[in-house]
């Protein structure tokens, strides 16, 4: 392992890049730990944002004003304000108020706040994408389903959602790729993701360029994985005569 790293460092040095920090066990461990944290953040926010998105979309298209209106207000407020500001607001203000109320028993860690904020933020975008899909389901299909005595919940889960997801999939994947990149805001509140680990290394030594290349490659790779999964799902869920 360390042999390969040395070969890599020497090879990079020929290109004029100083990657010697990967030989330092402390820096390497914090980078690897950071990469792992970023992957966890992505997984949690991915699931969280989809749950939030489905809930919001269901509320938006329910046709009941007492559900649809709060959801609409939430979506507008959330997608019209910057994620970083929301994160600061949640972590530095809400979290402090919560701590003052319950004392040290406050169970929410900075990591949890990032997951909550990004999930809700991206959930608002998912909800709009899903709404487009739900509203694209032909009225005749819904009438046919109603004639089989489907309740409105069954209608949503068994008829509208499966079709809506197929319509919305490209823009959902688009949102998820954005979500992967958005996890970098976690570094602002000292959650040890890969961006944070890199900042901590480059503020102590001079290798911004090398770490930037590493960061871009890592996020590029993660986004590419999401992209591939999205393409696979699109092909898998494809229904002949429907859309394609």
């Amino acid at each position: 392992m360390s042999h390969w790293l040395e070969v890599f460092v020497q090879w990079a040095a020929k290109l004029g890049l100083n990657y010697s920090f990967v030989l330092d066990a402390y820096a390497r461990d914090s980078l690897l730990q950071g990469a792992l944290t970023t992957v966890w953040l992505c997984l949690f926010t991915l699931v969280g944002s989809l749950l939030a998105g489905v809930t919001l979309a269901a509320m938006l298209t329910s046709g009941k004003p007492w559900l649809a209106r709060p959801a609409r207000v939430f979506v507008e407020v959330t997608r019209n304000t910057p994620t970083l500001v929301q994160l600061y607001c949640a972590f530095l203000v809400l979290n402090m108020l919560l701590t003052q109320a319950v004392g040290t028993a406050n169970p929410l860690t900075p990591f949890a706040w990032v997951v909550i904020v990004i999930s809700l933020h991206k959930g608002a975008f998912h909800a709009e994408a899903l709404r487009a899909g739900i509203e694209a389901v032909p009225a005749v299909t819904l009438e046919a389903a109603s004639s089989l005595a489907f309740s409105s919940r069954q209608l949503l889960w068994n008829v509208q959602m499966p079709l809506a997801v197929r319509f919305a999939l490209p823009s959902l994947v688009n949102n998820l790729i954005d979500l992967v990149k958005m996890t970098a805001v976690a570094s602002a509140i000292a959650v040890g993701d890969i961006t944070y680990a890199s900042i901590m290394i480059w503020t102590q030594s001079d290798n911004v360029l090398e770490l930037m290349i590493l960061l871009l490659a890592f996020f590029g790779l993660l986004s590419f994985v999401v992209n591939c999964v999205g393409r696979f799902l699109e092909a898998r869920l494809r229904m002949p005569g429907y859309g394609h």
């Binding site: 972590f91 530095l92 701590t99 900075p110 602002a188 509140i189 000292a190 901590m200 503020t203 102590q204």
Partner: protein
């Protein structure tokens, strides 16, 4: 006859562009900062405005104020240059200097051996400052060693990251000191470690901080210097005379009083006596 460009003419803009860029990069090789000051009478200074007496934004007129700002203005006055202030953060100040966004840094950046190799600096320090930790009054922490294994807030790029890691503290570094201090008050860490000049006035005067105290002795006291790009020895020599003058005339001690920086730094008195005796 329609005009058609020959291949050479088509590439002409590219050649001109390349030449212009090359020309610009050669021009930088001379001591660019001093040249800029003397030719164009302009000086761009990166200052840290993280709140506190060294640098903050005046709430009444939205203008920067503090000791950092006063020093930058006085440099401009003595060099006959117009000063442009650029607010910087600990996490980006080195990059701002390296990329030429600023010519000098007066940003509470202490001298360390690593930084001394990376950048240039004015040899005479303008201040000496160490770190201190703000902790809750009823906290059990009294010594630096007590921070072992405890969550400690600081800012990204702080010079205390290394010594704190050596104490075994579990560091949480925020974008700037204001977020770190808010995080301390949100109970996300047991202590916030920053320059003593930032923490001491807070716990001494601010009613919001009455439940907190500072711990002593100062961590890694180090000289605060003005930073330049590496190799700019002409600029450094010129600024060094000015900084020595600040010490000799007592200008810095006065400025310290004017900005209510407490406790008064013994280093300033030391340097004042030294330069007054030597008459430099």
């Amino acid at each position: 006859m329609p005009y058609t460009r020959s291949p050479i003419t088509r590439l002409l803009p590219l050649f001109v562009g390349t030449l212009a860029v090359l020309g610009a990069s050669f021009a930088v090789q001379a001591d660019a900062t001093l040249e800029k000051i003397e030719q164009r009478h302009r000086l761009v200074v990166g200052v840290l405005l993280s709140g506190g007496p060294f640098g903050s934004i005046d709430p009444s007129n939205q203008k920067p104020k503090g000791l950092n700002v006063d020093m930058a203005e006085d440099l401009g006055r003595q060099l006959g240059a117009e000063v442009e202030l650029v607010p910087v953060l600990p996490a980006n100040r080195v990059q701002f200097l390296q990329q030429g966004k600023v010519d000098l840094l007066i940003a509470n950046m202490e001298w360390t051996a690593e930084r001394g190799q990376q950048l240039g600096f004015v040899p005479t320090p303008f201040y000496r400052v160490g770190g201190t930790a703000a902790v809750l009054k009823d906290s059990k922490i009294t010594r630096w060693e007590d921070l072992k294994g405890q969550p400690v807030c600081t800012s990204q790029g702080s010079s205390y990251v290394k010594p704190l890691t050596e104490f075994g503290a579990e560091l949480k570094a925020f974008k700037s000191s204001s977020e770190s201090l808010l995080a301390l008050r949100g109970n996300n860490c047991v202590a916030a470690v920053h320059d003593a000049t930032l923490i001491n006035p807070l716990v001494a005067d601010s009613p919001e901080w009455q439940n907190y105290r500072a711990i002593t002795p100062e961590l890694n006291p180090a000289p605060s210097v003005i930073w330049t790009r590496p190799g700019e020895t002409d600029t450094q020599a010129k600024l060094d005379t000015i900084v020595k003058g600040w010490h000799r005339t007592g200008w810095l001690i006065e400025a310290e009083k004017r900005h209510h920086i407490t406790p008064a730094s013994p280093a300033l008195v030391e340097l004042h006596d030294k330069f007054q005796a030597s008459g430099a």
